[in-house]
């Protein structure tokens, strides 16, 4: 962290904004991407990921704000003069050129010698494991092969930063997993900064050193995969990264290391010690794997009493198993609490097997429940950052 803040970032975006007529596609984005990291822009469709990436590459002119690469302001530089290369969402291979010429395109524009071009194209094709397909036409390649040509074509120019726009989006799951591993290997081998756009949270978590979660043109949260998973800042991030249970309620009491929260359904459940004062509304996020299910005596009969056991203050939710799904690595249950709240639970221990209708108690470590910051509406956030910009 310390070292990184002192070093000049590979890419720095300052208040980067792009307005398309009535659509505010990117809204005052500030980011610092570090040298050599695998950085992801993650967000739902239409949140401005591609537009942000295109502004880094120079393919889109920002409405306002600046783009710096290694400390140089390149905002007004055309794409051909920026030391970055792009892997496009649909590959954008040149249909009139064969594989070799596609990969050689950038080198030819830079007037490399014939021998140099042959050597470097050969190396690049070897790096992406496409040796021998030099004379193939792109339309006679499989999706995965086209993807590799696009990658080789961008890498062969030895850019400082490689920009990738959902490079695996069009491939089937198995191939995607396989290419994810290869992308990571290639990034380690060439050692350059990757900026990776995806709407697939699992892909982002697997590949990235750091992730910026975007929504409606803004960065909602920036952090490592662990930070985003364990400490999502708000409901949007919590909901977007992995599956999570979000429980709305009101703080009843707070003690040093735990609190008690009354849900909208009237039931009580445990919360963390760091919670708002009693009487305040609160949003709790609990990951399915953090919840433990305990069998309750009484078998399949319907739970009836509200709230947890009042004795000892061990407030816990009770409910009936409503659905179960076998996932291979574990079993996912959906529990309907007595008050009617639905909770997803992931059991990885084969010992915990329940049948539909079984009465269970839901228990979790108070500290594993997370208090979320209230999510501001995208519109409000936009208005807010606009006034910020005016003040600045």
């Amino acid at each position: 962290m310390e070292a990184a803040t002192n070093a000049v970032p590979e890419i720095r975006l300052r208040d980067l904004t792009k307005q398309f007529r009535e659509v505010l596609a990117v809204d005052h984005v500030n980011l610092e991407i570090r040298t050599g990291e695998f950085f992801s822009l993650l967000g739902p469709s239409g949140c401005g990921k591609t537009t942000t990436l295109r502004m880094m590459g120079g393919l889109e002119a920002p409405t306002s704000g600046t783009v710096e690469i290694r400390g140089n302001d390149v905002t007004r530089q055309p794409p051909e003069r920026r030391p970055v290369n792009t892997v496009f969402q649909n590959y954008a291979l040149f249909p009139h050129l064969n594989v070799f010429e596609n990969v050689a395109f950038g080198l030819r524009r830079r007037h490399e010698t014939k021998d140099e071009i042959r050597r470097r194209v050969g190396d690049a094709l070897a790096l992406v494991r496409l040796t021998g397909l030099d004379t193939r036409s792109p339309d006679r390649l499989s999706g995965g092969q086209q993807q590799r040509v696009a990658l080789a074509r961008a890498l062969v120019c030895q850019p400082m930063v490689l920009l990738l726009d959902e490079p695996l989006g069009a491939l089937d799951l198995k191939l995607r997993k396989q290419l994810q591993v290869e992308l990571k290997r290639i990034q380690r081998e060439v050692g350059i900064t990757f900026v990776y756009v995806t709407h697939d949270q699992e892909e982002a978590l697997t590949l990235s050193d750091r992730i910026a979660v975007m929504r409606a043109g803004q960065v909602e949260q920036l952090g490592s995969p662990e930070e985003l998973y364990d400490r999502p800042r708000n409901r949007f991030v919590a909901g977007f990264i992995g599956t999570t249970n979000i429980l709305d309620g009101e703080v009843v009491s707070v003690s040093q290391d735990r609190s008690v929260v009354r849900l909208g359904t009237g039931e009580l459940c445990p919360g963390p010690g760091r919670a708002p004062a009693a009487g305040q509304p609160v949003e709790l996020a609990i990951r399915p794997e953090a919840i433990e299910l305990r069998a309750m005596p009484g078998g399949a009969e319907r739970a009836s009493s509200l709230g947890g056991s009042p004795d000892g203050g061990a407030s816990a939710l009770r409910g009936n198993i409503e659905q179960s799904a076998y996932l291979g690595t574990g079993i996912s249950y959906i529990v309907r609490t007595v008050g009617g709240q639905l909770v997803t639970v992931l059991c990885t221990r084969p010992a915990d097997r329940f049948d539909t209708g079984d009465l269970v108690e839901l228990a979790w470590e108070p500290a594993s429940a997370l208090v979320l910051a209230p999510t501001d509406e995208p519109g409000q956030a936009a208005a807010q950052s606009k006034t910020d910009a005016q003040e600045a």
Partner: protein, 283 residues
């Protein structure tokens, strides 16, 4: 298998009959007439023996200047038409937005008026006391009227104007098919806008350029209206010669021989152009 073949054949039937009635049959008639002899009152005499005499006449060197003139007009028209159409088609495709359809209809609008009337309109614009000279003299740019009508310039201008829609439409289609992200990829790979055009957009739209060239060159070679109206009496082209052989000189067999040679040359020229360019550009 058999039934599939039959059904395919049935689909081709209207097209093949059309080609037969309106292309093969007239061509055969022209060929037969070209072998006959001239009849003093027009028409052709076929029963006095058939010969290739008219073809030998057609290949006499005295015709070379006329052929050269036709080629000159058609080539100039084609180059000018492509030069003007490409930017127009490019602009409609890339910046036309929601108005693309309307713009394409505007391109075709001249077809709502007869070819001959539009050519006469150019005559009114270009003649010594015409619209253009009127404007030039009124604004004081020129003092004496410029001689515009009955020049090569007038002929090429009239043809280019007339065949512009034929070149804009195929160019529009091929430009519109070029994925903008491929051009963006070229820019990303160190091409200036000009280099991206030269190395990506132009090669990818070459089929459109070829189609536009053929669709301009072929009618330009066969056009006798424009050279006649805008080029004046002393301008000769092969199409004008053929027209006068049929309508005023009353030498049908010789006209038919020239016409047959013109069609033959056009077909051979088209096919070999396509062959060469396809091998070079696409293959």
């Amino acid at each position: 298998m058999m039934r599939g073949r039959l059904r395919e054949g049935a689909l081709l039937f209207p097209g093949i009959s059309w080609l037969f009635v309106f292309f093969a049959a007239p061509l055969a008639i022209i060929f037969v007439v070209s072998l006959g002899q001239r009849d003093a009152y027009g028409g052709a005499v076929l029963d006095k023996g058939l010969s290739f005499a008219n073809y030998l006449r057609a290949l006499e060197p005295s015709f070379l200047p006329t052929v050269a003139n036709s080629l000159k007009y058609a080539t100039a028209t084609t180059l000018l038409a492509i030069g003007i159409s490409y930017p127009i088609a490019y602009w409609i495709s890339r910046h036309g937005g929601r108005r693309k359809g309307l713009l394409l209809i505007l391109v075709m609008l001249p077809f709502w008026t007869s070819w001959v009337i539009r050519t006469y309109a150019w005559m009114i614009i270009l003649r010594d006391n015409g619209v253009l000279n009127g404007v030039l003299q009124a604004t004081g740019i020129t003092h004496d009227p410029l001689i515009l009508l009955n020049t090569d310039f007038a002929v090429v201008l009239g043809m280019t104007y007339g065949f512009l829609p034929f070149s804009i439409l195929p160019l529009y289609v091929s430009i519109d098919r070029v994925d903008v992200s491929v051009v963006a990829a070229a820019r990303d790979l160190y091409s200036s806008p000009g280099q991206a055009f030269r190395h990506v957009t132009l090669p990818l739209t070459m089929p459109g350029v070829i189609a536009a060239s053929l669709l301009t060159f072929i009618p330009a070679i066969g056009d006798f209206v424009t050279p006649d109206i805008l080029g004046g009496a002393q301008t000769t082209t092969i199409a004008k010669v053929i027209q006068s052989l049929f309508l005023s000189a009353r030498d049908w067999p010789f006209g038919a021989a020239l016409g047959f040679l013109l069609i033959l040359a056009t077909v051979i020229g088209t096919v070999s152009t396509l062959r060469i360019l396809r091998a070079e550009v696409i293959g």
